[in-house]
Symmetry: C2
Subunit: 350 residues, 2 copies
């Protein structure tokens, strides 16, 4: 403990951090020390400071027997936005990149589809023109490119796409653009009895294809937007058909609804990065007992991207302004993370 | 083993049963013996015979390491219908009894509601008149009696109702009309790594109130029908409002859709009792590997009720006819169960 103390002493807010570690050691299952130099640091990609202290203190408070803020395991529910919170969402959502590629494939198969200006723009890879159509345009594109097939066919198409789909400027596969610090946080939470549930504005069935591999999250812990789905028997084989019609939008005020429908419990911790996560953070942190709301602020133009109030993807304005009075923790990607992406990454094939 | 063998020898199909038990003992974690006299019988309310053998053999086959039909724990998913499968549904669904009581309360508070003949009939307790209005009438009644309030208020009303709500002829609280053999089966499955998920045509939020107490099933493992739900902040407090409008009907072909939306996996075992469970059984048993489909046949007019093809609640016709060719196991309540309800039951207060 002595050398740990010495190493920690230089950091901001040493007392709270030290007490948090002490309480973990003293009150029950110890978690590994909070120093990045220590082999057992559960959050090695998080820089020492008030944010890291807050995370460790919260986890200790709710999961240590005898703590006044102790929460039983079944109620240890943490929800995570995906785009911009668990992986990069610039210069466009990963799922929009999928939709553009899929539009190109569809137009190659059925050239008459290009008569629709929206599809033509998508097939040409013009994300800006698609976005200019507003929500309606994006939903129409999603319905066309994600619907009209059964769930197993869709999962296969998505899986194939992820094998080679590349970020346009970062020269990594999209599957290598997850945030290492967030993966560490999810792992720490799970090691302390939490369920880590992804609550995405994107499609449930899209993200489920890679959620286990990328985040260790099983399909039943992915909540997202859905197409209307119907049951049919085709040639004697039962299938679930994805109709080209959006059934539920799991964004903004839809997120608490999606969480309630799927889980019937209010989370005690919520992690987001945009105004689309405002209601999820509000709903989560309005409950009684210890609560944690966290907003990831993209202020790192060197290692990732810097954007907030004016971004077409992941706009962060209202939630950032509300954070201080709500007690939400704002994470500076630039200052609070020693690393953004995982060490081992799959480069693009070309 | 010798005395166990002697005790088992008199029962039908001794060889298969004995082999099933042997395989459990030999191949991994043993489960308790299959004799009802043995203290460790996991299914004491199931009479020895082919049905009980089939259940034990299936559980052993999918959960014993080294078995050719072994299924990893995350894929051990068993789905259960509720009305008529886990508790009694005659002379009417429990939730319809709730709706009638609630209509009476609402009419007492707002007498003008009785101007609607449907509500007047419901408030008078006339289930037959309500049912005569068809699906539309029932949905209208559900919307009125279950909607127009936030989720926490609804849960409180349901909880209060269950404290004293009684079956009209059996002189037990509704909460004492669960089927003991099914509870044993769920417990056995859970002890072998299964998740036991309830997939009900009734309301998700209605059943969640009692599912943990009655069945040991947490809220996230209850899938059912839903009202449209919206998020709002009222007097500074965020709430989820139940709109008087049915959003999803989790019955018939809706059951596989509800399962897919919530869990993203296909179950390996499904338990039902009516044609409303047909598609769930079909979807479940169409998958590869070992599968179990089970239909509970209500043929016990002495201890419970006897009904199938012509019943307005829990109609069983198509599924019963299809069972032999589909390999679905039909359980005779009269012959296969030594007991129907739990030993300890709460009688009605009056």
């Amino acid at each position: 403990m002595g050398s740990l103390f010495l190493r920690l002493r230089g950091t901001l807010g040493i007392t709270a951090s030290f007490l948090a570690v002490l309480s973990l050691v003293a009150m029950g299952r110890p978690i590994a020390a909070a120093s990045p130099q220590a082999a057992g640091d559960p959050l090695p990609s998080w820089r020492e400071g008030p944010v890291k202290q807050r995370l460790l203190a919260f986890v200790a408070a709710v999961s240590t027997k005898g703590s006044p803020d102790y929460v039983p395991v079944p109620e240890r529910l943490a929800v995570f936005d995906n785009d911009g919170t668990l992986w990069s969402e610039q210069p466009m959502y990963v799922q929009l990149a999928f939709a553009l590629d899929r539009a190109r494939t569809l137009v190659a198969q059925q050239p008459e589809l290009a008569g629709n200006p929206l599809i033509a723009a998508a097939a040409a890879g013009d994300a800006r023109a698609v976005m200019a159509q507003g929500t309606r345009g994006v939903l129409d594109l999603v319905a066309l490119t994600h619907g009209g097939m059964d769930t197993e066919t869709f999962a296969r198409i998505v899986r194939d796409w992820f094998r080679s789909a590349c970020h346009p400027s970062l020269h990594r596969l999209f599957t290598s653009l997850t945030f290492a610090p967030m993966a560490e946080l999810m792992e720490l939470l799970r090691s302390r009895g939490f369920r880590t549930v992804i609550v995405t504005g994107g499609g449930t069935d899209f993200l489920r294809v890679v959620a286990a591999e990328l985040y260790g999250v099983p399909p039943e812990q992915v909540i997202g937007s859905t197409l209307r789905t119907t049951y049919a028997v085709q040639g004697g084989v039962p299938v679930l058909l994805r109709r080209p019609e959006v059934a539920f939008i799991d964004d903004g005020p839809g997120k608490p609804v999606g969480i309630h429908t799927a889980l019937g419990r209010r989370p005690i911790a919520a992690f987001g990065n945009s105004d689309g996560d405002f209601e999820m953070l509000e709903w989560t942190t309005a409950g009684p007992g210890a609560r944690l709301g966290l907003i990831l602020h993209h202020d790192d133009s060197e290692r990732e991207f810097a954007y907030d109030r004016k971004s077409p993807f992941g706009r962060l304005d209202r939630a950032l302004a509300a954070a201080p009075q709500r007690g939400w923790t704002v994470v500076s990607m630039r200052n609070d993370w020693t690393r953004v992406y995982p060490l081992s990454a799959n480069p693009c094939p070309r």
